[in-house]
């Protein structure tokens, strides 16, 4: 087992889940309340080892459901504690009610989501829908491409969420099995880094003995809108705080993240746009296509909420056509989550690319080179099409 006090600079093999557990062992949160669910289980299992072995000071609350897990997190966070939890799919669905309460109460809880397809039909494999459906919960929402990114995300999430201008909960996803269970090399950080990067959380009105605070109150017609608007202001503040949190993290670790990461975008005519682990495959395929002389690039949307409209518009300047690949689904909508958000964001820009939508990899179905090559072919085929092209399901049997 990897020790919480791993030596920084030395690459260690770990799965995505282990990476998340190890990052939390370094962060040493005050409270963790979680309930195990595939493919998140290893996170809480591994972290409970750290608790048992005395490597962390965390109060670990075992609960009987995810609804209780998030409720316990809300209570703990309201005292000013640094609180972490993790879940997936049905677990997120069960805690959905409390997600809104966490954000409305402005509690910077951090949650790792081992992205998994929702039932039914019952499925345990990778899909981002469990997190994309949370887009209206008021949580800051991010995705990871690799185990390293999932490792780093925990530190960055607390940094952003606990910023006094933001004070919002943050969830970050890692694709089920593809990241959670695959072994990768990860450069760990240590507590010295935490001390520098993550100062202790300071809460404005903590609920502690001798300091009574009424929270979670009734607010009807006369107050509800004002309190909701405060959340909108906080999300806007996050737009400013997030790039700074990325930059500071990069300055200390050498690993710089961006809301929208650009890959081979210089002189590109078409581009893939996607989120999560699909971005890794997309990069690989783009590099191969580039070698074959194709003018193709790719964008990875890391930050899903607040949605980085401006970063996207900037990165897409001069691009003729993009293929947006969603590993998530909405029914009866103009298209899946990322596709609709991108289209909406670009509407006001005079110079905007043609946007083609693809749904792929639902329920953990493989999206490998062949699928990306197929998408690329479709993008070229429909490039410049005058009629609107419907969103296409890739790898679907008739």
């Amino acid at each position: 087992m990897t020790k919480a006090s791993s030596t920084p600079g030395k690459r260690v093999g770990m799965t995505g889940d282990e990476a998340v557990a190890n990052s939390m062992a370094v962060i040493n949160p005050d409270v963790v309340a979680a309930y195990p669910i595939t493919p998140q289980t290893i996170i809480v299992e591994h972290f409970s080892d750290f608790v048992n072995d005395g490597e962390v000071d965390t109060e670990y609350i075992t609960v009987e459901s995810e609804h209780s897990a998030m409720s316990a997190c809300v209570g703990a966070s309201a005292t000013g504690a640094r609180v972490f939890t993790a879940s997936a799919s049905q677990g997120i669905a069960l805690m959905y009610e409390i997600l809104f309460i966490a954000s409305a109460s402005r509690l910077p809880i951090v949650m790792a989501v081992a992205n998994r397809a929702l039932s039914g039909p019952i499925n345990i494999h990778g899909e981002l829908t469990d997190q994309t459906v949370c887009r209206d919960t008021g949580w800051i929402s991010m995705f990871s491409e690799s185990a390293q990114e999932a490792y780093d995300a925990g530190f960055i999430a607390f940094k952003i969420g606990e910023h006094p201008d933001v004070s919002l909960p943050v969830m970050y996803g890692l694709d089920g099995f593809i990241l959670t269970h695959a072994l990768e090399g990860v450069y760990p950080l240590d507590r010295k880094f935490v001390k520098k990067y993550l100062p202790e959380r300071e809460m404005v009105h903590p609920t502690i003995p001798g300091n009574p605070v009424s929270s979670g109150l009734l607010a009807l017609q006369n107050y509800y809108m004002e309190i909701k608007y405060q959340q909108e202001i906080a999300m806007d503040a996050a737009r400013k705080v997030i790039p700074k949190a990325f930059e500071e993290f990069g300055d200390l670790t050498g690993r710089y993240y961006k809301n929208v990461e650009e890959h081979q975008m210089e002189d590109a005519e078409v581009a893939f746009v996607t989120m999560g682990a699909l971005a890794g495959t997309a990069k690989y395929v783009v590099d191969k296509l580039r070698k074959a002389g194709e003018k193709v690039g790719m964008l990875k949307v890391k930050t899903f909420r607040p949605f980085p409209e401006e970063d996207l518009a900037k990165a897409l300047k001069g691009i003729e056509t993009i293929g947006v690949i969603d590993r998530d689904l909405t029914f009866g909508a103009p298209g899946p989550a990322l596709y609709t958000d991108i289209k909406t964001s670009l509407y006001d820009h005079k110079e905007r690319p043609q946007v083609l939508g693809f749904v792929a990899g639902l329920g953990g179905r493989d999206v490998a080179q062949d699928e990306f090559n197929y998408i690329y072919k479709q993008v070229l085929k429909n490039k410049g099409a005058e009629k609107s092209v419907p969103v296409e399901w890739v790898g679907l049997r008739k």
Binding site: A104, S105, L107, H205, L217, A219, I227
Partner: protein, 107 residues
């Protein structure tokens, strides 16, 4: 008593001034204790708990079960219902072992 308690005047301001999102504390919290005393929730129900002093055995069961702390015991050990806060839930009447509490429409 906690130091961050508001006076009745300050509390009235809080309720009546209808602050906007800039002045309201974060997350709809009220950063002091005891504010519920200013919200007289007794008008929520037409039914009020009325005690028959002769039948009451002074067991205090109603005092402990009242979810709104609207029951206190007088010098004789008999419950007094505070109608400013009694929501008329009827728990005390249901639970009274001597059937000394009745729910009555006092309007």
């Amino acid at each position: 008593m906690s130091k961050n308690k508001l006076s009745e005047k300050e509390m009235k301001e809080w309720i009546e001034q209808q602050w906007g999102y800039e002045k309201l504390p974060m997350g709809g919290s009220v950063p002091f204790g005891g504010s519920s005393i200013y919200f007289k929730t007794g008008d929520w129900s037409p039914f009020k708990a009325v005690v028959d002093r002769e039948t009451c055995t002074k067991c205090t069961r109603c005092f402990f079960l009242c979810p709104d702390s609207a029951i206190t015991m007088d010098d004789d050990g008999i419950p007094i219902m505070d109608f400013d806060y009694c929501k008329g839930c009827g728990i005390c009447a249901e639970e009274c072992p001597a059937d000394a509490i009745a729910m009555k429409d006092l309007s």
